[in-house]
């Protein structure tokens, strides 16, 4: 009886805190309902839907050309790759023959998008673990890519550059030169990233061994992209289901086996090198030709079901179109990488501290519009 009294007196109590929807570490309007005991996290429950726009429902009334521009607004950091996914799905359904030039340009722009997304992630990752200066260094390099995009596509973030059948415009005359400049510039800056953050002892202490995700769990939770690859799960869509011009280049799929936050960090840094090498291989070999094949003004897909996967900066984006033969899809589902990656947050963050949660979440690289769609 007496022991019980002592127990109630010194009971450690779990309590709830709301992380978000306005919180610096949630990168958007994600709300996490944390159950914590002191500093230790007992449960993480994401609360979504703060910017749900029901893109899937909107797609059911839009034409296929119009759907492409909605995908810009999902994972806005890899907008071009999202565009590409829908375009590839439509083109495959129509069995259109796409010019080589288009494929190569799409791949180059896709990889540049990936680098730009990872640059932003690197800056924000540093900021989440407390090194504010990384943010500006990451953005400096991202800015160069944004300028390239702006010159060729006309916009910096929501490009809508791909259309079913090719590209909206041909590449700008300056494109090749600018990309080459960027490659030279970025090759000197990437080692700096390592010196500033990767090697830093505090950063390593914060990330090594934190938020461990085993390979089995990664597959079971549907993790994809760098999150899955850091756990040793080979899930690069570019390797397993190559699309566009990706089969023309050689690149390594970056795999790590540790599955912790540091491994996820390293995978992304390595991926920037790989993407850079892909761009380097392709930039001198853009074939001449048309930038677009003409399609009907009203695209009607044959009745049937179509699935197209691409590898965005965050992982595997799937576009599942059910067509009944009309001008808009009967049902269109986006399998977004962030959604699956978020679902494993509770699994890997429990038992860590608040600081661990923030670091873990940073390496999951969540983009909330991608999750909320």
């Amino acid at each position: 009886m007496e022991t019980e009294v002592v127990h109630t007196n010194f009971k450690s109590e779990e309590y709830f805190i709301n992380m978000g929807p306005q919180h610096p570490a949630t990168h958007g309007v994600l709300r996490l309902l944390l159950t914590i005991d002191g500093e230790i996290i007992k449960k993480v429950e994401p609360d979504l839907g703060y910017i749900h726009r029901s893109i899937e429902k909107m797609c059911e009334r839009d034409s296929y050309q119009q759907i492409v521009h909605l995908t810009d607004r999902m994972d806005y950091l890899s907008a071009n790759i999202n565009n590409e996914a829908v375009c590839l799905a439509v083109e495959n359904a129509l069995q259109l023959e796409i010019p080589e030039r288009v494929k190569v340009i799409r791949t180059i722009i896709g990889e540049l998008t990936r680098i730009s997304s990872h640059c932003l992630w690197w800056g924000v990752m540093g900021m989440d673990v407390g090194a504010l200066t990384t943010y500006f260094y990451g953005f400096r390099d991202r800015e160069m890519i944004n300028d390239i995009m702006e010159e060729t596509c006309g916009a910096r973030l929501t490009m809508n550059y791909n259309v079913p059948g090719g590209l909206m415009l041909d590449i700008h005359p300056n494109f090749v030169k600018r990309v080459k400049d960027f490659i030279v510039h970025f090759k000197t800056k990437l080692p700096e990233y390592d010196r500033l953050l990767t090697g830093n002892v505090i950063f390593q202490k914060r990330t090594v061994g934190v938020g461990i995700l085993s390979k089995e769990d990664a597959i079971s939770f549907g993790a994809s992209g760098p999150v899955g690859r850091a756990s040793g799960y080979s899930c690069d869509v570019r390797k397993h289901h190559p699309y566009s011009a990706i089969d023309k280049v050689t690149f390594n799929e970056v795999l790590k086996t540790e599955g912790d936050t540091y491994a996820r960090y390293l995978v992304r840094i390595q991926e920037m090198w790989e993407s850079l090498s892909i761009v380097e291989q392709l930039i001198d070999n853009i074939p001449e030709g048309e930038h677009r094949v003409t399609t009907n003004a009203v695209i009607k897909l044959p009745k049937g079901e179509y699935f197209q996967k691409v590898e965005t900066a965050r992982g595997e984006l799937g576009v599942y179109i059910i067509s009944t033969g009309t001008k808009s899809p009967y049902r269109l589902k986006f399998r977004s990488p962030g959604f699956s990656n978020l679902s494993l947050l509770n699994h890997i963050a429990v038992g860590g501290k608040i600081g661990d949660l923030v670091a873990t979440m940073a390496t999951l690289d969540l983009v909330i519009p991608d999750i909320d769609r």
Binding site: G304, Y320, S340, S343
Partner: protein, 153 residues
């Protein structure tokens, strides 16, 4: 494994399965709601199929029926299959959860519940994911009507 071999193999497990391949790049398996869980756990655990990666789970409103489409891939054997299940009960559709087979299904099923109103047996935390708790109706159903935010076709 090729589509034919898969069809051969899986067809032996349950007699009532329907296979289609037309209008799709994958092998489609239609299964009745009663046998869904059995088939799914078989697909995951059978050493020859090993579908351990559920990469897409979509709810579909087929008009009269409500259904779910599961896209499965095997990470070791690299073959894919699509499993479809439908229920005709539009007012109170209930299906079995596959959360215990693939953990990712927890969130995907919550999403389906949110937008299509399909309930899942044995789901650990079945509640609205995106919409608020007091939302009336299931927006991605074809018969959903919203007078405020009208969607014009």
């Amino acid at each position: 494994m090729t589509k034919e071999a898969l069809q051969q193999l899986i067809g032996n497990w349950l007699p009532e399965l329907e296979f289609t391949e037309e209008e799709s790049q994958f092998l489609n398996i239609h299964v009745s709601p009663q046998n869904l869980h059995t088939l799914m756990s078989q697909l995951k655990s059978n050493p020859e199929t090993q579908f351990d990666y559920l990469f897409c789970l979509s709810g579909v409103d087929w008009g009269e029926k409500l259904g779910i489409v599961y896209h499965l891939e095997s990470t070791s054997k690299r073959h894919m299959v699509v499993v479809k299940v439908t229920t005709e009960d539009r007012d109170n559709p209930i299906l079995d959860t596959v959360y215990d087979i693939w953990a990712t299904a927890e969130f995907h099923e919550r999403e389906v519940f949110d937008f299509f109103g399909i309930r899942f047996n044995n789901h650990p935390n079945l509640k609205r994911l995106f919409l608020t708790e007091d939302w009336v109706g299931y927006p991605l159903r074809k018969d959903y009507e919203d007078d405020v935010n009208m969607i014009l076709y």
